[in-house]
């Protein structure tokens, strides 16, 4: 897509979002902080009505600010509990701007998702139980530099527009004239816009063909199609609107394996538009539940509307025309789609760990001066029952009555719990020689170790090296079932870039350390290195580079286990293990139990 076209779509997304922020969820904007994003945000502010609140959510926001809680100052001042609304409630009927959305902790993303789903915030905190309306739209600013960090999938799923401006330069991004009245008019029409059978079927079909599994995407596409119709001043969704919605909402989400194009089910037998409604019931019987005998809700007749509505065929034809050539046919390679989104998930606690304080798990009485954090609310709670008694004991000497009587026993400090979480990094040699030998066994061994990690609630990461380079198949995650899947899907073949594999493992281990985790490396290789750093060929170079990489690994003092997968233990591999300071195991003689015992020993040493 050209810059101009991409920018036009980005502008269109803003206008559509402004029509119904709450119904469309929001925009996931992937772009580095820079002039292009600034211009886009400036446009957003211009287009959103002046009355719409735009609240910026600070990164690392805590629950008290996000959801609300006890307003301490007011509570102390007036002597009765006062509620402070959180950011989500304050942003009601407005827009929440989430910077650094790719680093949003899964918990925060889930809280935002819940607010998007229900349009309200349920507060059950600090002895308060309240519900506040929070009809919000979300602009998630995803600044992830590479494929590694992405917006949490659960939240991305609820935002209609995935926009990617990373490739855009400022040159092609003109500001567009903006007509507030047209937008207001579209906002009035939007609730009345009707989509016919054909549009719904067409959108579902398009989603299926694009390999989109998440049902929400299709629902959002339908709403965007309605918003497009509203923007054009129509009260019925036309084929062009549906095509636009597919382009904006569905195409960027295109997934991996589309099922073979369904033999045109509805399209062929589609009755003439004016009978579409009557025919629909028969053609798409709601499979399991029998529709209620009389007025099934989905057959509310709206014949006059449907007379002008598009058929599924028209929608699909428009979609084909609107999408870049071949997108429907040639879908992305399998792993690209599968890794979309979720790769950033499953990292519960990374941010908390970065604070080096762990998570608060409760309070205990104690002295807040010893460098521990005072829990004001719990302290007040502890002091509250005694106020009358203490006031009486002091005798309230005539003048001003002291508001609060606190004694040392009342102090409550927060207990933190920081589990020493470790990340096991599996670096698997998937080269041709290894595949020939025992890639399958190596995979089996990793599965054994995965089961151990599961019990310990460790995170795992998976690196495979083959051909010319090493690839992170799975960034550190707690979802071990995914680790197993990516492992099973990992193909074998090609040369052995052992040095690259070791280097990749070292970089990942260092990144994990920065996150406050303890990395442990399990390297599985047959040691037949034949590609050096930077792709140099030749066994001699490759082995020298591998040994150098091993020494670099030792320098960061990483606990490691090297599993030799060659049929006969190789002297080089053993030397490699020595150079990297790793424990060495030769797979041919290893039972799974011994393997996991060895991995455990290494892991225990790291802790």
């Amino acid at each position: 897509m050209t810059t101009a076209a991409a920018w036009a779509d980005a502008m269109l997304a803003i206008r559509l979002f402004a029509i119904a922020p709450c119904a469309l969820g929001g925009i996931a904007l992937r772009a580095a902080a820079g002039p292009v994003r600034e211009r886009w945000l400036a446009e957003l502010r211009t287009v959103l009505p002046a009355t719409t609140r735009l609240r910026r959510m600070p990164p690392g926001i805590d629950d008290a600010r996000l959801l609300g809680g006890l307003d301490l100052v007011a509570t102390l001042a007036c002597g009765r509990p006062r509620v402070e609304r959180g950011l989500l409630a304050e942003a009601d009927l407005g827009v929440v701007l989430v910077p650094m959305a790719e680093r949003l902790p899964p918990g925060t993303a889930a809280r935002l998702s819940l607010a998007l789903d229900t349009g309200e915030v349920a507060l059950e905190r600090d002895g308060l139980a309240r519900r506040f309306p929070a009809r919000i739209g979300v602009i998630a600013l995803d600044e992830g530099a590479d494929g590694d960090e992405r917006l949490a999938a659960g939240l991305a799923d609820r935002l209609a527009f995935p926009l990617d401006l990373t490739a855009l330069s400022l040159a092609g991004t003109e500001r567009e004239p903006h007509d507030p009245r047209a937008l207001a008019a579209a906002g009035d029409i939007f609730p009345r816009v009707v989509a016919g059978e054909g549009v719904i079927t067409g959108l579902c079909e398009a989603a299926l063909r694009l390999g989109i599994v998440a049902p929400r995407a299709t629902l959002l596409a339908l709403r965007v199609a309605r918003a497009l119709a509203a923007l054009a001043g129509r009260e019925t969704v036309a084929a062009a609107d549906a095509a636009g919605a597919v382009r904006l909402v569905l195409a960027p989400r295109a997934g991996p394996a589309a099922p073979p194009a369904t033999p045109p089910p509805a399209a062929d037998t589609e009755p003439p538009p004016d009978q579409a409604e009557a025919g629909a019931g028969a053609e798409t019987p709601p499979p399991p539940p029998p529709p209620p005998d009389d007025a099934s809700p989905e057959t509310t007749p709206d014949l006059d509307q449907l007379a002008t509505s598009a058929t599924a065929e028209q929608v699909l034809a428009a979609v084909e025309a609107a999408l870049p050539a071949g997108l429907l046919a040639r879908l992305r390679p399998a792993d690209n789609g599968a890794r979309r989104g979720p790769s950033a998930a499953g990292r519960a606690g990374t941010l908390h760990c970065a604070r080096q304080r762990g998570r608060a798990i409760g309070v205990e009485s104690g002295d807040p001066r010893a460098g521990r954090r005072l829990s004001l609310i719990e302290t007040l709670r502890a002091a509250a029952p005694w106020q009358r008694l203490r006031a009486a004991a002091v005798g309230a000497p005539g003048g001003k009555r002291q508001r609060l009587f606190l004694t040392r026993d009342d102090f409550r400090v927060i207990r933190f719990h920081q589990p020493r979480q470790s990340t096991t990094i599996f670096a698997v040699d998937a080269s041709g020689s290894a595949a020939l030998h025992r890639l399958a066994e190596a995979k089996g061994a990793v599965e054994c170790l995965l089961a151990d990690c599961y019990v310990r609630r460790d995170q795992v990461a998976l690196i495979a090296f083959r051909g010319r380079e090493a690839e992170i198949l799975l960034p550190p995650t707690g979802a071990l079932a995914r680790a197993r899947r990516s492992l099973a899907a990992c193909p074998g073949g090609g040369a052995t870039p052992l040095a690259a594999g070791i280097d990749a493992a070292r970089q990942l281990a260092e990144a994990e350390r920065r996150r406050g985790r303890t990395p442990v490396l399990v390297l599985l290789t047959d040691g037949r290195a034949n590609i050096g750093r930077g792709g140099a060929t030749g066994r001699g170079v490759a082995e020298a580079d591998a040994l150098a990489a091993a020494r670099a690994l030792r320098a960061i003092r990483l606990a490691a286990l090297l599993v030799d997968t060659a049929p006969r233990p190789q002297p080089l591999t053993e030397r490699l293990a020595g150079e990297m300071g790793a424990a060495y195991l030769a797979l041919p003689h290893v039972e799974p139990e011994r393997l996991s015992a060895a991995a455990r020993a290494v892991g225990a040493g790291a802790r």
Binding site: G107, P286, E298, L380, Y454, A479
Partner: protein, 342 residues
């Protein structure tokens, strides 16, 4: 809050989940339900719809915990005190479906000192928490895998004992808290601790509908509902009423269902073959099968009922390879098939 709920009967597909929810609605003793699966598959919708579907329940008038007049043996201390004099029929209230939102603090979950009264009047009073509100109903935790571990432990403990004991801030309270725990989540966002899995009675997996027809129906109904929730609910009212009657009838029938010796043997053999740990699996399987028989209007619980609920009742209890969810499902199905054939 939205006035009208999406009707339970209007949920497309997801038969396993719907059936599991109905089973625990008929016999809460089956235990909680764990719903895991893809995003946007109507997990929360189904759970919230269930509460709206259930007939109202009777509670002792004036009881703050909502004791059941029909079960004097389970009365709270206050009801026991006045029990004889104020038996009566009690008053009708809706079955509670309590949401435990993420970010809830422990004091709101178990209950704590009433801050307002403490600050304003210097009284030490107990303010019941979510567990008290969920008594005789459901406690729903969306994204249960994101909930803090110590809260999950606490919930499971109370759910198992049926009683909430609060000892904090100089308050000592115990009150009945019998509820069905329903947890939902997406395994891609982190897994539940393996130790917790088998504390849930049933475990169901939900999947995205794959056929075009199903997807179109989902979309159509969803749109109709968003457009006019009231009219949509009204259109499904007859269907809802029919299912509600079935639940009421099934509950009445439950005690009278005959579980023949052969069924008991079948259950025991199935659990032995699968090597499930402990008796909990067998008991849950048996109860679930009985509830299913009641739902289907049968008076005898036979092997077919056991087979129908074996997967949700057992799939999370196989400890052999905790990584392999699909394998667990297949294992159970195979064992069932083998037993049925023999």
């Amino acid at each position: 809050m939205m006035a009208a709920h999406y009707p339970f009967t209007a949920i497309v597909g997801q038969e396993e989940m719907k059936r599991a929810l109905l089973i625990v609605a008929i016999d809460p003793a089956v235990g909680g339900v764990l719903v895991f699966g893809d995003r946007g598959t109507g997990k929360s919708t189904a759970v919230r719809a269930l509460a709206a579907l259930l007939p109202p329940m009777r509670t002792m008038a004036g009881c703050r915990w909502g004791c059941d007049p029909a079960e004097p043996q389970a009365f709270c201390a206050e009801c026991r005190g006045r029990g004889a004099t104020r038996r009566g029929r009690g008053k009708l209230v809706a079955v509670p479906m309590v949401d435990l939102p993420l970010g809830a603090t422990e004091d709101r979950v178990v209950g704590a000192l009433d801050l307002e009264r403490a600050l304003a009047h210097g009284e030490r009073a107990f303010e019941p928490g979510l567990l008290a509100r969920a008594h005789r109903g459901f406690l729903y935790i969306d994204e249960v895998n994101l909930l803090d571990d110590h809260l999950v432990d606490l919930l499971l403990d109370v759910a198992a004992s049926g009683e909430n004991v609060v000892e904090r801030e100089g308050i000592s309270v115990r009150h009945p808290a019998r509820f069905v725990l329903i947890g939902s989540g997406n395994p891609e966002e982190g897994e539940l601790r393996p130790q917790l899995l088998d504390r849930f009675g049933l475990s169901v997996e939900v999947r995205t509908p794959e056929t075009l027809a199903e997807r179109v129906t989902v979309m159509r109904r969803h749109e109709a509902f968003t457009r006019d929730p009231g009219a949509f609910a009204a259109a499904w009212a007859a269907e809802e009423a029919r299912l509600r009657d079935e639940i009421v009838a099934a509950r009445a029938r439950l005690g009278a269902i005959d579980v023949p010796e052969t069924t008991l043997e079948h259950v025991a053999r199935l659990c032995m073959r699968l090597g499930t740990d402990g008796l909990r699996g067998e008991l849950t399987l048996l109860r679930a099968a009985r509830a299913l028989a009641a739902l289907e209007g049968k008076m005898i619980c036979d092997e077919s009922h056991v087979a129908a609920v074996a997967t949700p009742a057992l799939r999370h209890r196989l400890r052999r390879n905790p990584l392999d969810e699909t394998l667990a499902t297949i294992k159970v199905e195979r064992a069932v098939a083998a037993l049925m054939a023999s």
